[in-house]
């Protein structure tokens, strides 16, 4: 569904990604792992059209979307869910969700998806009239995922949904991501939380210094000693791992 070939990009004159290849099959969950500053978020920005692609190709459904304007990419059903801190704090929960549905005009469909989001995240329904700035970290993360769903995506790209959240909340959010994928939405998950991401995803990439270092099925990667050694980070669900 998504093919990234030899992607090169960066900010200003500084090159961040130096030839990244990633492939995501329709209906699957794929994770991209790496520590801080390895280029994970840059990859998502390039895919969403927020920064220009210097070289290489991005194909979505076989068509090139490299250097398209972000709103055009959204219109094709490729939606990025930003990090939790990037909700609109001065808007209510429901207004945030409605921004997600901006490109749509099917009132009934929007209504139905709104109910669906509230079904995934009941906490949001309780707080639908609250300003999103008053939500807890976990709730805001749920909100931005819900906002992505409101765009009726065919593929969701999530940027570190576990960042800085308590393990209990991470579990809840990952479970919901699994549920979303089961409903037919393809998922690209960018994470630092290696253990949880590999438990959720079917296939994983590990990037470092702007290149893919290792890739493979999630089961294989979680068994890989070098992965365990070098790329831990983020909050940890298991204290065994923490002290290992």
């Amino acid at each position: 569904m998504l093919e990234v070939r030899d992607l090169q990009t960066g900010y200003g004159r500084i090159k961040i990604l130096d030839g990244v290849n990633v492939s995501v099959a329709g209906g699957s969950i794929v994770t991209v792992l790496g520590g801080n500053g390895t280029g994970k978020s840059t990859l998502l920005k390039a895919l969403s059209g927020l920064i220009p692609v210097w070289d290489g190709e991005i194909l979505f459904d076989g068509e090139s979307i490299a250097n398209l304007r972000p709103d055009r990419i959204v219109n094709r059903g490729l939606i990025q869910v930003t990090q939790g801190k990037e909700a609109y704090p001065a808007m209510t929960v429901e207004e945030n969700l409605m921004v997600g549905a901006f490109t749509r005009s099917d009132k009934q469909g929007i209504r139905r998806d709104l109910d669906k989001v509230y079904d995934y995240f009941p906490a949001l329904q309780e707080r639908r009239r609250q300003l999103s700035g008053t939500l807890s970290g976990g709730e805001v993360q749920m909100l931005v995922i819900g906002r992505g769903l409101m765009a009726n995506p065919r593929m969701l790209m999530l940027d570190e949904p576990s960042a800085a959240l308590a393990p209990q909340v991470v579990l809840n959010i990952f479970a919901n991501v699994y549920r979303i994928s089961q409903s037919g939405v393809t998922i690209l998950l960018v994470e630092q939380n290696v253990r949880m991401a590999l438990l959720l995803a079917g296939y994983g990439y590990i990037i470092r210094d702007g290149r893919v270092l290792i890739e493979g099925p999630a089961e294989e990667l979680s068994g890989d000693e070098s992965v365990k050694l070098s790329y831990l980070g983020g909050t940890v669900a298991s204290r065994e791992q923490m002290s290992s």
Partner: protein
Amino acid sequence: MALLETRMLSKSFGGLRAIQQLEMDVEEGSIHGLIGPNGSGKSTFFNLVTGVYKTDPGSVVRFAGEDITNFEAHEIGRRGVARTFQLLRLFSEMTVLQNLLVGYHTHTKYAAAAPIFRPRSVVRADQEASESMFELLSIIGLAEFADMPAGELSGGQRRLLSLGRAMAMRPKLLMLDEPAAGLSPTNVDVLMGIVLDLKKRYGLTLLIVEHILKVVMDTCDRVTVLDHGQKIGEGAPHEVKDDHAVVEAYLGKEMSDEEVRAAFAKAAR
């Protein structure tokens, strides 16, 4: 004896109560960890102690027995409190040595006009400064890069430099804001080794905010856990680790891979 004490420390932003009546003692010569989920008030605590934010009425911050509540940041710095930043905030155009000297000169007392006239005392002070800065550079392993612009250092080296710059202020209390974030485990070990070395050599007291629990558990003598601006647990690392409230709010229950997978499957049904 407690080097840093807070009593009834509170801070709100509009309606948001970032720190609520926090009472905390950092013992002199200890390594004190401060942990908690994001938004629990750790950074606010740092900013209150270092004078970046003004506290709410009723709060008291004491350093080495002196009430320093709401002192200006530079006065607090002069008394011996230094910190590092999550975002390093180095002067990237300056050389490594110059970065350290900036920290050092905030500590020295001679008048601003003096460097222009350069009396002998100043020249001597400058020599001393360079010498002690080189000593510091060699401890943090950056001596060979002294004349390189800070912007050209690698990520790990920059973090070391930010540590060195804080040390250049000759602090009694060094506050580290997520020193290990984004470092590989090997580099974390190197960094913490240097921190412990510095502590021993200069008789530091350390206050560390860190997300990577291993760091906290391995190095700290005492840990305070914050949640929503309140202290929910405090004690030796192993005590905190088993504290029920801390587990609920922050650490989470232990789960095996199978249990996690089962939780996913249950959600999808």
